[in-house]
């Protein structure tokens, strides 16, 4: 869920080998940790007169409990609504008057704030961020207006996105214990129910400097960043680390199914979701490559097997980076005249074929090349650099892993792809969701 409608699209790719001489190298990234536990990474890059600050907070919907679902995302919104020095509305007004823009996004695992600005506004950005981290003032009137905004965000997502509609239902069925069960935006009734106390407590617990990683990339100097970090962030006290998420989702022992009816859906949509391990698991790389083999490019398995054969008009896969074991999603949109059942068995048939017969060396080589292109694209902008560095730092434990990824991807063999398909993409581990104008009858 994002705070603003302006979408940020970025693909995070792994890298393989033979990085260009000019592309960013591991040694270009400098990092230091303040006494309060806040880690700051800096990448100097003067290609445009701009810079970015990304603040990654280790809080997302996985840190919620029933009754306050969606609060992480709602809180993301509240972080813009006034603090001690910069009152309501002044965060955005001050930033924009200095030439900067911002956004933020919340996932199941993280809340990330993004500031994009001309490099000479750097001190203003530090001032703004430090004030809201240390001294957020949660104004009850602002809370009420923001509830309306988030309710609208929820509604417009359901109105305009079949993916969103299906994902909300499939998560609820695939997880019965772990907090990945609910959508990041939360249940409608919970959005209406947060109290002032919930919000105050959430800020204190999760927005502590020891719970954050900051990345600054662009036309800045390390020394300048260090001096400003010491001036603005260092005085903010550390807090007791938040409670750990201890729930482990019990093993799924059989296929689960959900159906969603929506009159305006022109042809059925089918989503499959399979339980897969956390990103830190060594199978991440093989699963990520398998995802590309299935749907990246028109030569991919599901495109060839379904779109080319006029069973589907669209197929997609998605595997989010994740702290805890999560889901591998596959979604298809039926061609007119094709039933949900036919589409579903087509999708499953292609997946099972990989589990049964494996993939070719060429196919694997192809998706490794695609990963390399994605990496270069991410490294072409200061925005891509900041987001990718922080993401690797959080999900793999160190940004160094970004630069070790070549080896990790290169080690994956066709046998690994077949093994992960057999291990994870199997019936008992699967939840199926169907979206259609009408439910097929029993007869």
């Amino acid at each position: 869920m994002m705070r603003k409608i302006i979408a940020l699209c970025l693909s995070i790719g792994g890298i393989l080998s033979s990085m260009g001489a000019q592309a960013t190298q591991a040694e270009d990234i400098k990092s230091f940790t303040l006494d309060n536990g806040m880690k700051i990474m800096v990448l100097e890059d003067a290609s445009i007169p701009n810079a970015n600050m990304y603040l990654f907070w280790k809080v997302g919907s996985r840190n919620e409990v029933p009754g306050i679902t969606g609060i992480s995302h709602f809180f993301e919104h509240m972080m813009f609504n006034g603090s001690k020095k910069f009152g309501p509305k002044m965060f955005d007004r001050t930033m924009e008057a200095a030439g900067g823009a911002n956004n933020a996004y919340t996932t199941e695992n993280l809340t990330v704030y993004t500031d994009w600005f001309p490099a000479n506004a750097l001190e203003t950005i530090f001032d703004l961020e430090a004030d809201r981290i240390a001294h957020l003032d949660i104004n009850p009137e602002m809370v009420e207006s923001e509830r309306g905004v988030v309710a609208s965000e929820r509604t417009t997502g359901l109105e305009n996105s079949n993916w969103r509609t299906l994902q909300e239902e499939i998560k609820g069925a695939a997880f019965r214990a772990h907090p990945y069960s609910w959508s990041v935006i939360g249940h409608e009734s919970d959005i209406a129910a947060w109290t002032q106390e919930d919000l105050v407590q959430y800020h204190k617990t999760y927005y502590a400097p020891n719970n954050a990683v900051v990345v600054i990339a662009g036309d800045v100097k390390l020394n300048e960043v260090k001096a400003l970090a010491n001036k603005y962030f260092a005085p903010i006290p550390a807090q007791t680390p938040p409670r750990e998420v201890k729930t482990v989702e019990p093993l799924q022992k059989g296929e689960r199914r959900v159906f969603v009816q929506k009159a305006s859906v022109s042809t059925p949509n089918v989503m499959l979701a399979y339980h897969v391990p956390a990103t830190s698991n060594q199978d991440y790389y093989a699963l990520d490559l398998l995802s590309s083999i299935l749907t990246t490019g028109n030569s991919s398995r599901l495109y060839q097997g379904l779109v080319e054969k006029q069973v589907a008009i669209e197929v997609e896969t998605y595997m989010p980076m994740s702290f805890d074991p999560n889901l591998f999603y596959v979604m298809g949109v039926a061609n007119p005249g094709i039933t949900a059942q036919e589409l579903e068995s087509g999708m499953i048939g292609e997946i099972n074929r990989i589990a049964r017969e494996g993939v070719t060396q060429d196919e694997l080589e192809k998706v490794k090349n695609i990963k390399l292109m994605n990496f270069y694209r991410a490294m072409e902008t200061i925005n891509g650099k900041a987001n990718t560095l922080g993401t690797y730092e959080l999900y793999f434990g160190s940004f160094d892993k970004l630069f070790n990824a070549p080896e990790a991807y290169n080690k994956v063999t066709p046998e690994d792809i077949q093994r992960v398909a057999q291990t994870y993409l199997r019936r008992a581990n699967r939840t199926v969701a169907v979206l259609a104008a009408t439910e097929e009858s029993d007869q």
């Binding site: 020095k85 910069f86 823009a101 506004a121 309306g148 109105e159 292109m373 694209r377 902008t381």
Partner: protein
């Protein structure tokens, strides 16, 4: 809050202009020349990553459609096979290199864009040539593509946000070519034949009507030789008929409301606006600044009133979309069905502030800083820069747009903003498109003008 506001502007009570220094930014070095056959070439080396983007733009889009959608289907069909390589051969090769290639058409241009690693230039450039010069237009593949596109058009109507602009253009421009949806309609695509694609290709895909931009990690001398070899022997066909798009645009003499019924809608998605400006309008940059204040950023009047103060929506915006000889201006937002009237009225009231209270100096200074500060990241990647060069060719502006941008922004005065407001923002006879549940909002729609109601799943984008 008040103290904060004063501290921010520092001079809220004065009218002294404050210029914010956002650093200097200029057009990266590039070369522009023409091949002997008239094809325009732009070369811009960029070496940060070992990638190359090649963008070709053909000066022909939906405004040239004889059957709706022919420009777009011609562009998309380039990828169905060319010069002895089948669709599947092309896809296997492109994917194997990790590269990507895409083609489509907009209102006034048809585009083919390729992205690849520099080491694969010798494979990808000849492919771009084949697709542009020698597409097969295979009938079997075309039938499949057409069927997917027709199904896709029905599916796009499930998302009001995706299709609402097509209804709006049709409402504003009617039968004028600017009203043509590039996508075509389900009925028009059903009529299309491969021969029409061949004819479209023959008429417009000629070197005299094309620019090719290469941006990325290459040596200009070598690239020139390659391009000359690939495109130098391509001959022009018949002369291309001139089209005066300034002619025949309907006048908007009354407020009209197009109500698009989506029976299961849980919110109303709407646009309000009218005619806009051409891309070559000398006030283009100034209008971007003024529009930033109205609806072009988070603290804009529209977003502040509808989202921040009222909590009616997740976002409210406004924008000018310019074409070569005309354009549209529109305010866009959405709200739950029950608050439709409240949101439309608040949008209109907020819009009227342009004339009623006008813009003050601190707000103008802030907007100027914002558009300058957010400008360089729009032209950071090879893909973005290639897109810029294609637009320069298509709309006839030059790199002074980049190099004079800051100066033009800084030079905008308060008095100028008022002239821009009075000259360009449509003040009355506004046009409305509302997509929502008609049983809940038809009475509301009638309060803003003469209503025409259509069903969203009906074919096309009717007025």
């Amino acid at each position: 809050m008040v103290a904060g506001a004063l501290a921010l502007s520092g001079c809220a009570a004065t009218t002294t202009s404050q210029t914010v220094d956002t650093g200097s930014f200029s057009m990266p070095a590039y070369e522009q020349y023409q091949l002997a056959n008239g094809m325009t070439v732009y070369l811009m080396p960029q070496t940060e990553v070992p990638l190359i983007t090649v963008s070709a733009v053909v000066r022909a889009g939906a405004v040239k459609d004889t059957t709706s959608g022919v420009a777009n289907m011609t562009a998309k069909s380039l990828l169905l096979g060319a010069n002895g390589k089948s669709k599947s051969d092309i896809e296997q090769m492109v994917d194997f290199l990790g590269a990507s290639i895409a083609a489509d058409a907009g209102k006034e241009g048809s585009f083919i864009d390729a992205d690849f690693m520099a080491k694969d230039t010798d494979k990808m450039l000849p492919l771009v040539r084949d697709l542009l010069r020698a597409p097969d237009f295979d009938g079997g593949e075309f039938d499949k593509l057409r069927q997917r596109e027709m199904a896709g058009l029905a599916q796009e109507k499930e998302s009001p946000r995706v299709v609402i602009h097509r209804y709006f253009d049709k409402l504003v421009f009617g039968d004028h070519p600017y009203g043509n949806p590039a996508s075509g309609t389900r009925d028009s695509l059903a009529e299309l034949t491969v021969n029409q694609l061949r004819a479209f290709h023959k008429s417009y895909y000629q070197p005299q009507n094309i620019a090719i931009s290469v941006v990325g990690d290459f040596k200009p001398g070598e690239m020139k030789a390659r391009l000359d070899k690939l495109f130098g022997d391509w001959h022009n066909g018949e002369a291309i008929a001139k089209q005066d798009l300034a002619e025949g645009q309907p006048s908007l003499d009354a407020s009209k409301v197009l109500l698009v019924n989506k029976g299961d809608a849980i919110e109303t998605t709407f646009l309000i606006g009218g005619k806009g400006i051409s891309r070559n309008n000398p006030d283009y940059v100034g209008l971007q600044v003024v529009n930033t204040i109205l609806g072009g950023r988070f603290t804009s009047w529209l977003n502040d009133e509808l989202r921040v103060n009222a909590g009616l929506t997740y976002g409210a915006r406004s924008a000018f979309t310019p074409y070569s000889q005309g354009g549209v201006f529109r305010i866009s937002t959405f709200t739950k069905s029950d608050t439709t009237k409240e949101a439309i009225d608040l949008a209109l009231k907020t819009y009227s502030r342009l004339w009623q209270t006008g813009i003050d100096q601190p707000t103008l200074d802030s907007a100027k800083a914002y558009v300058k500060g957010q400008f360089p990241p729009k032209f950071e990647t090879s893909e973005q820069l290639a897109g810029l060069l294609s637009s320069m060719y298509l709309y006839g502006f030059d790199d002074s747009f980049i190099n004079d941008f800051q100066k033009n922004v800084d030079g905008l005065t308060l008095a100028e903003t008022q002239r821009l407001v009075n000259s360009y923002f449509p003040q009355d006879k506004l046009q409305y498109v509302l997509i929502g549940n008609a049983s809940k909002i038809a009475d509301i729609a009638a309060q803003y003008g003469e209503v025409k109601q259509v069903e969203i799943n009906a074919v096309g984008f009717s007025q």
